[in-house]
């Protein structure tokens, strides 16, 4: 009898836990949508902030975010795919090199994102950037300062483990018999990887990209010191320009504005835009992936 009471109690408890998090999510999203949706006007999406950020829109931040995420993807996907290929196809599981690099990737995933920000500042901006300036620009400050390219690279390092893990999983899921078939036809290992294994694992590569993008779009800490700007009168056009970014803009609006009360409606709108943008990016990639899965074979 007592066991049954405990059993029922446990069911109620788990149901309550589910209800609780659902309620929390509803409150958070509901609050944002409720206050934010009336901010979403054409002007809000296409204009720059005005009047100390109490008026105008957030277009530069949207633009900067998309640019940042795109650049990051260009850096992180090829690198992540290469590492995953090494781990899955070439590395000897027993070797110390494999174990060390594997452990390094695992640890990379556990590093707090602010540390990546500091790393980006120290390594990319001050170390690499300064040397680029000395070598190519006679020491004129060009790349030795916070810039879009450094922010994208920092973000790429942050999201690298995500890409590696998902690509590697997809590569391992390709049956050995495909590799055998290819090798038995006189293909080299690299031909086998690029023509058989990798195409088969394409959905994993896209998943990696998706996860990296959604992680990257939501992070603020890594770019605090390496390129995100409080306000810019113009859009970034070169790799060494600074940029505005949605997450950072939210931080600025909520804490750095001279008039926090007046910026509040804009803040809600910005948060809503960031959420929708992240969802959209994810959704697009998931749709591509679903299409790749159903149409597994390419037409002739």
């Amino acid at each position: 009898m007592r066991g049954r009471v405990i059993d029922r109690g446990f069911v109620v408890l788990t149901a309550f836990a589910v209800l609780l998090i659902t309620a929390m999510l509803t409150v958070v999203l509901g609050n944002i949508v409720w206050h934010g949706w009336e901010q979403i006007t054409w002007e809000f999406l296409t204009a720059a902030p005005r009047q100390g950020m109490t008026e105008g829109g957030i277009f530069p931040a949207i633009y900067g975010t998309v640019l940042l995420v795109l650049l990051m993807t260009i850096f992180v996907v090829p690198l992540g795919v290469c590492v995953a290929i090494y781990f899955s196809e070439y590395a000897n599981r027993e070797s110390w090199l494999y174990r060390w690099t594997r452990q390094a990737v695992n640890n990379l995933a556990g590093v707090p994102s602010i540390v990546f920000g500091l790393f980006g500042l120290g390594f990319f901006v001050q170390f690499v950037g300064r040397r680029v300036d000395k070598a190519l620009y006679d020491g004129t400050l060009t790349y030795g300062q916070p810039a879009l390219v450094w922010a994208a690279l920092t973000m790429a390092v942050l999201t690298l483990p995500v890409v590696i893990v998902s690509v590697e999983e997809a590569l391992r899921a390709v049956p050995q018999s495909y590799r055998d078939a290819s090798l038995a036809l006189g293909a080299t290992r690299s031909q086998t990887i690029f023509r058989v294994v990798l195409p088969q694992a394409m959905s994993g590569v896209l998943t990696g990209g998706i996860l990296a993008v959604s992680r990257g779009a939501g992070e603020v800490a890594p770019i605090l010191f390496v390129g995100a700007a409080y306000f810019l009168p113009h859009l970034p056009t070169r790799l060494n320009d600074q940029f505005m970014e949605l997450g950072y803009h939210i931080y600025v609006l909520s804490t750095q504005s001279p008039n926090v009360e007046e910026t509040k409606p804009l803040l809600y709108g910005t948060v809503l835009v960031l959420l929708v943008l992240t969802f959209l990016l994810n959704f697009t990639a998931i749709a591509i992936r679903a299409r790749l899965r159903t149409g597994a074979a390419r037409a002739r």
């Binding site: 078939a181 090798l183 006189g186």
Partner: protein
């Protein structure tokens, strides 16, 4: 060239081996295996096997699970190289040249010695691209027309052309199991190998598809040296000219198929083919 077998571990076999006559007509060995020993780490999978494979004949390798027959087959195109920890000793000759000699081009070897696997394993590409794969990666064709031609010939040789000619652009994964296996045969034939290794090519197929594969083997043996590993003794009896019986990595008996199945020289061969173990 006489038919040889290992005698070291089975001294009783010795007299029988020495007395055996070569095959009528003295066929020519395309490949020979001499004193081949293969180890997976500490485990010996194949030990001291000596065996010829003749042109235009089908040689079946039979034996119970784990007897080393697949390992032996995979030694013939060095597919064991892809497995970690495999050590191969002895000689394997193709046209008199040792394929394990240093400097042997494994890629070129595998073009000459094709392989069909137990499970049909077409790539997730179109039917056409599957057959064209080996030709493309090896740069064996110069024009689209030549590629089309080679693909068609390979599909005809695998008796699949009429079934798929109107849907070459469709995914190979939409084919039935039997069709997929014939596609894999076509894919192997497209690069024009000289030897065809078949690792239980029909074990995953229904009887009708199996019959089609066997029919196909009869056609193919005119042009190829075929080595087939099989679990299925009826199949070995039906399709092969010569049969090698492997047990625990040792070659117990190698004889013309009718002889091996009617008057086996070894008591253990008889025990196996009559189903007393396996």
């Amino acid at each position: 060239m006489s038919i040889m077998t290992t005698t070291r571990d089975f001294p009783l076999l010795k007299t029988q081996v020495e007395q055996r006559k070569p095959l009528p007509g003295e066929p020519e060995a395309k490949m020979t295996v001499e004193e081949l020993t293969i180890r997976y780490g500490p485990r010996v999978a194949v030990e001291g096997v000596t065996l010829p494979f003749y042109r235009q004949l089908i040689t079946a390798i039979i034996g119970p699970s784990g007897c080393g027959k697949s390992t032996l087959l995979r030694a013939l195109n060095r597919m064991n190289d892809t497995l970690p920890g495999v050590v191969t000793q002895g000689r394997v000759e193709l046209d008199g040249k040792d394929i394990y000699a240093p400097g042997c081009d494994v890629i070129a070897l595998r073009q000459r010695v094709g392989m069909v696997f137990q499970q049909p394993n077409p790539f997730a590409k179109s039917i056409y691209d599957n057959v064209a794969y080996g030709l493309r990666i090896n740069g064996l064709v110069r024009s689209r027309a030549e590629l089309d031609d080679r693909v068609e010939r390979a599909l005809r040789a695998a008796a699949l052309w009429d079934e798929v000619k109107d849907r070459l652009g469709k995914s190979a994964l939409q084919l039935s199991g039997g069709e997929q296996q014939r596609l894999c045969i076509a894919r192997a034939l497209a690069v024009q190998p000289q030897v065809l290794l078949m690792d239980e090519p029909a074990s995953a197929l229904d009887p009708v598809s199996t019959a089609k594969i066997e029919e196909l083997m009869f056609e193919l043996k005119k042009d190829y040296t075929i080595v087939i590993v099989t679990h299925n003794m009826q199949q070995a009896a039906r399709v092969s000219d010569l049969t090698a019986f492997l047990l625990s990595g040792h070659l117990l008996e190698f004889n013309p198929t009718p002889q091996l199945f009617t008057t086996p020289a070894e008591a253990r061969t008889e025990a196996y083919i009559t189903g007393r173990f396996g």
